[in-house]
Assembly symmetry: C2
Homo-oligomer: 218 residues x 2
């Protein structure tokens, strides 16, 4: 998945073009920052996504600027970042972030055919929270028309990962400065029922499972 | 902070151009996705930042593609997104995300003068973790030269916020489907000391305070 656009210039030791590395990061996150150019003006929009092989499905309102822009089949950059920790070094210069990120380049195209659109929405839903799609009312024809779904095919992608303790200059290890990592993680709190649900309606297993996997452990 | 580029087309009820709303979101996050166009090719890069009024300071290696691109004073889009929860509705269509995001447009310019560069780095450091800068070794001249610091002046910005329970179609409230929100939050675990620190070195108060503010509450 290498190419000129994803040449690893900075910290090449942190980078990879291996599809398995790229896919692992894409599968661990659910929010992408999607960039396109509108007459030389860059626009970066946060979007939910799902992955099917080398394809990312993105969705938004059919009337939104990004969906209309991507409809024209324009070059697109999809960047996904997971933050894993603050890296506190002995020198200001060696401070860093532990993170996993993917930068993917490709061309995006909106999907017109309702069946393909619905299938793509299911990929996004399954990616976001497994088991939700079969539990809810599927989209009506009118809702499908109001939803813009974009198929982004990855042409080139790189993964970058930084992990572990700070790396200080040799001389700095003697400084009386605390150094280390503050681990950061996205966690979920207990599901909050819609106030309009009948009181006492328990959250179903797929919601409980989502929570358990991301739950705050004391 | 309104303008053509930040016209609130979709869900205008979620949006604001008020500086206080924009600043509150920028101050609550620390990672931006920064987009620029390189000959029609959009590039989106995750970068740490700090804010001083309408200026965001961004930094990266002086040799990195983005710092070299921004050096040419190109139009830039800085997008910051905080994820607050999954919104699980009774219909697939009304699923959503609780979030706070800012999209800011402006022109970026690298800073050459070492004093201004160091001052900007301090803004970024203070934004990331208050109290860290005075505790560590400041950058040497060589380190400053190796660091690219970018001054991005916000010309136009919009904030978007979605919060609260799902909004379902009237008829769907009768469906036997659990609906609600799974709150999501970035939390910090206990600081992990660098293995090369003398054993038992306690984390200083500024690190403990950072942890306490983001700590996992049982």
């Amino acid at each position: 998945m290498a190419g000129e656009r994803t040449q690893l210039r900075r910290h090449p030791e942190r980078g990879s073009h291996a599809p398995a590395d790229v896919h692992a990061i894409l599968d661990a996150a659910f929010l992408a920052h999607v960039g396109f150019c509108a007459e030389g003006q860059p626009v970066v929009v946060p979007m939910l996504y799902g992955r099917d092989g080398e394809v990312l499905y993105l969705h938004g309102s059919a009337a939104s600027r990004i969906v209309r822009a991507l409809d024209r089949g324009c070059p697109t950059c999809v960047t996904v970042t997971l933050v894993d920790g603050l890296v506190l070094a002995r020198s200001a210069f060696n401070h860093s972030l532990n993170y996993r990120s993917v930068m993917a380049f490709g061309t995006a195209q909106t999907i017109a055919e309702p069946g393909a659109k619905q299938a793509a929405l299911r990929v996004i839903s399954d990616h976001l929270i497994a088991g939700r799609w079969p539990a809810v009312r599927p989209p009506s024809e009118k809702e499908l028309r109001a939803t813009g779904v974009v198929r982004f095919t990855i042409e080139e992608a790189s993964a970058k990962v930084r992990s572990g303790p700070p790396k200080d200059e040799d001389a700095d290890y003697a400084l009386p400065v605390w150094a280390g990592v503050v681990p950061l993680r996205q966690t979920a709190a207990a599901p909050v029922a819609d106030p309009r649900l009948p009181p006492g309606t328990p959250a179903p297993e797929h919601v409980q499972a989502y929570w358990r996997a991301r739950k705050i452990e004391p």
